[in-house]
């Protein structure tokens, strides 16, 4: 079981101060957040891929390599790598390079992207989102496993005897998660290959996530990759932490009320009931997170969204201190070992909160 954070890399005005970070500040903040995540003992940090304002995360592997050079233990991943609009040949090359540079300390999560206007910029059409995801991954899967690939598909120019370089580290393709909110085709795809399935989880009610995860588990077993309960499941989550419940709610409410995705809609209280969003003390977040297992089963990766909606860097770093406590408690509750190779900085910061 791994715990980490995922970011989409949005540049959003802080609704409490009216201040908008520059792109430079946001990009550097992403690195600082990742370093802090390692320091407080998290296992994974995942960065997004977007090609339109207000996002800065257009080049995930560049950011991941830079973070990787400044960290020692934390695993780098994506949330998500756009399998629809990115050439699978470039994904094979970029992520295999990253795998070598990071000595294997990485994986990636594929997603389709739901911003319609982005597709034509890359010569694609959002209405073909599912077929693009299926065909592009079929090619990517082969590029990492076969030395010489002959390929012909609908969406890219054919390949004859093509070798993607570098070859994966030790001949082992990077681990792939397939992320989706509501498309069973993507759960089916993950099951077919025996890859991981990540349910975004945070924008929809738990009943929906439960159904997608159960479908993936059944299909994973159907395709002979193992028992349904051993399928590789990841879940998103969204938290804001405070020393008291009231403090957390009061601090987060203006960010919630103005958040780009769900702002100006349901109340914080309603949205907390309806989705996995948890605003409160570390103990409350531990309890809520443990409850995900009641409908998702025993799962392998929990990522939290903590750096969005205009929250300033200083706040996010403090959130990470508290999240470190949460994750330590979760590991204890689940009978997991503490982080195997703590960096010296991590043990020093354990009591800093």
């Amino acid at each position: 079981m791994e715990f980490g954070i995922f970011t989409v890399g949005d540049v959003t005005t802080d609704p409490t101060t009216g201040r908008t970070p520059t792109e430079h500040e946001r990009i550097k903040a992403t690195v600082e957040i990742a370093r802090k995540a390692e320091e407080v003992g998290l296992d994974v940090v995942a960065v997004g891929q977007h090609h339109n304002p207000p996002f800065v995360a257009s080049s995930p592997t560049t950011t991941m390599a830079y973070i990787g050079a400044q960290t020692e233990r934390i695993k780098l991943s994506t949330s998500t790598t756009l399998i629809t609009t990115t050439d699978p040949v470039r994904i094979a090359e970029d992520y295999a390079t990253l795998q070598h540079l990071l000595d294997g300390r990485m994986d990636l999560m594929l997603g389709r992207g739901n911003t319609g206007p982005v597709y034509p910029w890359f010569g694609k059409d959002i209405r073909e989102g599912i077929p693009l995801a299926i065909e592009n991954y079929a090619l990517l899967h082969r590029l990492w496993r076969e030395e010489n690939v002959d390929w012909q598909g609908k969406f890219r120019t054919p390949l004859q005897g093509f070798t993607a370089t570098p070859r994966p580290l030790d001949g082992e393709a990077p681990f792939v998660w397939h992320g989706s909110i509501r498309s069973p085709e993507i759960a089916e795809q993950a099951a077919y290959y025996g890859d991981g399935f990540f349910s975004n989880h945070i924008f929809w009610p738990a009943s929906h996530t439960a159904r997608m995860v159960e479908f993936y588990r059944q299909r994973f077993e159907h395709y002979g990759h193992g028992r349904a309960e051993d399928a590789v499941v990841g879940l998103g989550g969204q938290v804001y932490l405070g020393r008291t419940h009231e403090q957390a709610v009061n601090e987060f409410r203006p960010y919630f009320d103005n958040a780009p995705v769900y702002g100006h809609g349901p109340s914080l209280e309603d949205f907390t009931r309806q989705t996995p969003l948890t605003v409160g003390t570390p103990a409350e977040v531990v309890e809520r997170t443990l409850s995900f297992r009641e409908y998702a089963g025993d799962y392998q990766r929990q990522l939290f969204l903590i750096d969005h909606a205009g929250l300033p860097l200083s706040t996010v770093l403090h959130q990470l201190d508290l999240l470190g406590e949460v994750v330590a408690s979760l590991r204890t509750e689940l009978g997991l070992a503490a982080v195997p190779t703590q960096t010296p900085a991590a043990s020093a910061s354990g009591s800093a909160a």
Binding site: P184, D270, R273, Q274
Partner: protein, 229 residues
């Protein structure tokens, strides 16, 4: 489809009535009146009463559930913004999903159905009304709006693949004589109710309507088919 795809229905209120001693048919009346009393709700109630009466005369048992959208207005806006329904909106959606027939009644606002009425059907999951008999009805201050049934409501429900009944009921202020429906309006109500009951007592068109997830799964075929494009 060489590959058997398992799927199960988990949405609440699966229709079909399997195992019931009496075959009860469910009618959900969706009304979008805003005032109290509202002529829209009054028309909805008359349509419900007539449906129950005609069904009883013909030996059928009908259970009527009312969904009044005014109380769901905030929840419907939330559903627009979040992309999912919860609470009372989710309950109302489940009722419609389990209905054997729907009566849809709206006031006329700016020459069409009201925004509140449209929002309910905007956030209803695709496929919910597939093949479902729908009786359309509307109210307005003047008879000059009467074509709203054919210009606005029928296209909406045709798009949603509902089976819109031939008779729709429109009531203007002048149709309400001394606090009740006048005889011409009552005649139209009875005629529409008769058409609705015709659909209810006949053989069921479908044993089960699939929700979006099940439809996606059923339409998917095998992964090899997907790979083959």
């Amino acid at each position: 489809m060489s590959d058997p795809i398992p799927f199960r229905r988990t949405s609440p209120g699966a229709p079909g009535g399997a195992g019931r001693a009496v075959d009860v048919r469910r009618v959900v009346v969706v009304s979008a009146g805003l005032s109290d009393p509202s002529s829209t709700k009054l028309l909805a109630d008359l349509l419900a009463e007539a449906t129950t009466r005609v069904a009883t005369e013909r030996g059928a048992v009908v259970e009527v559930q009312h969904v009044e959208l005014r109380a769901l207005a905030h929840g419907l806006t939330d559903a627009l913004l979040t992309g999912f329904a919860s609470g009372e909106v989710a309950t109302a959606q489940a009722q419609v999903a389990a209905a054997d027939a729907v009566v849809a009644v709206t006031p006329v606002f700016s020459a069409s159905y009201s925004g509140l009425f449209k929002t309910f059907f905007d956030v209803l999951e695709r496929g919910t009304l597939d093949g479902v008999p729908v009786l359309v009805a509307a109210t307005a201050g003047t008879a000059r709006h009467s074509l709203v049934l054919d210009h606005a409501l029928r296209p909406l429900f045709s798009y949603l693949h509902a089976a819109v009944l031939p008779t729709g009921v429109f009531a203007a202020s002048e149709d309400w004589a001394r606090g009740g429906a006048d005889s011409a309006l009552r005649t139209r109500i009875d005629r529409a109710a008769g058409e609705l009951v015709d659909r209810l007592v006949g053989p069921r068109a479908q044993a089960e309507r699939l929700d979006q997830f099940d439809r996606d799964v059923a339409a998917m075929g095998s992964f090899e088919d997907l790979l083959g494009g």
